[in-house]
Symmetry: C2
Subunit: 258 residues, 2 copies
């Protein structure tokens, strides 16, 4: 198998972390595209690639085009890459929320390369612990993304569109919604002038426990104990936070029903 020649479309959180990781493990990225030339250059310089902000002139030397742009821009980017589509070049997106069929009728040889993690540009991603969920339309293309995925992470999963959609919903619960609950805790502490730092080890441990044991065995608190007195006291306190009070009621009920 020849070496995969990567062209990276997108220099946001995912594009940046992927690009840096490819570079780190000795894979060469030929070119980085971003609509903002400055952003493309910033990443390109870090990983020894050229930079571009013009899709019509993007390098044709790539064998794998990784499209790491906002979900709603994927189809449009695919259309602008149509001139490169010779059936041999492979095009993948990195989105958890978008089916691979977004490419259908636009490109021939496509797939998904989805690193399931929450990324920030400023925080180094630990790829040794990031599952890469891969899928390709053609069986033949699968080994290319599979090999690439294994080069950046030990955790590689074959995940089709239906499975990825499920993972994405579940991820909203465990990541987006949890973070919102962390925010609520933070907000209450801030308003009441209590140091939120005191709760941070608890957050860490709550997540750590889940790594080893099923969540339903780890449930604690007044709701699962049916501790009505504490629940009532909490609801009284939350009179000043009506939106949080509603969430408290609903989540408590949900825990009790389970």
């Amino acid at each position: 198998m020849k070496n995969t020649k990567i062209v990276l479309i997108g220099a946001g959180n995912v594009g940046t972390q992927l690009g840096r990781r490819f570079h780190e493990v000795g894979l060469s990225v030929l070119e980085v595209f971003s609509q903002k030339k400055k952003k493309a250059k910033l990443l390109a310089q870090q990983i020894g690639a050229s930079a571009s902000n013009d899709l019509s002139k993007i390098s044709s030397k790539g064998t794998l085009y990784i499209i790491a742009v906002h979900d709603d821009a994927i189809a449009e980017v695919a259309k602008q890459l149509k001139h490169l589509d010779n059936g041999k070049r492979l095009f993948v997106h990195t989105s958890g929320a978008t089916p691979s069929t977004v490419f259908k009728g636009i490109l021939k040889n496509y797939g998904v390369f989805y690193p399931l993690q929450t990324f920030s540009i400023s925080r180094k991603a630990d790829f040794s612990n990031i599952p890469i969920c891969i899928d390709t339309k053609r069986k033949k293309a699968f080994s290319i993304v599979e090999k690439l995925a294994h080069q950046i992470s030990p955790k590689v999963y074959s995940i089709n569109d239906a499975q990825r959609a499920i993972l994405h919903v579940a991820a909203v619960f465990v990541n987006n919604f949890s973070n919102h609950l962390f925010y609520i805790g933070e907000n209450i502490c801030e308003k009441e002038r209590v140091d939120f730092d005191i709760l941070k080890p608890l957050i860490q441990e709550t997540a750590a426990k889940i790594q080893a044991k099923p969540a339903h065995l780890m449930q604690t608190g007044p709701a699962i104990r049916g501790d009505e007195a504490t629940i009532k006291r909490h609801l009284n306190f939350l009179e000043n936070y009506p939106a949080y009070q509603e969430l408290y009621k609903m989540l408590t009920q949900s825990i009790m029903e389970f």
Copy 2:
């Protein structure tokens, strides 16, 4: 200051972890009480203490009695320790949900020694990262619990009843409710036959990010982006999970409002 002589009332999750930690740092626990003699013995043996299941005969040699029992049993235990209350012995409970005034009118010299963490008997607690929230009725007694707290953890906070009540509500959001969201993610994956392990690194990272940055800066996902298409797709999928669909709606709305 003489050495504190500890008597531990309760051999559940908190009592066990505290007892082991005291022993680990070279503090002696004189006696362990549990209603179940077997449980008292189990812990007592590990930490070189005697075991008791009779509060009327509990060792009178203690200078600090740590009451680590269920919230609703604290007052009753306090009453049964009344014969030891000479104004010198100090009595503290370990509850986040219970005001120190639970002791008022029962004991003279009391306070709170609250390790803010989620404990299991089977999982070794890392006290180097567990905040100890302390409070005493008498100023003079404060230095005793403060010294003890510093011997088992570098993180010691002076937290009064009002502040602890706030921390406890916030803890329900960041710990109990988050764990429930983890459970929902786990449950969806299980029912749809997708490997929940794929989401575990995401859970870990969600909690890790919060250690360094404010939660509101870390919020991602369809709700904060106002990504109606994805939200609609998720809600459609959740038609089969009406209770989760309701929670999804409510949490999405809450994120949007913020």
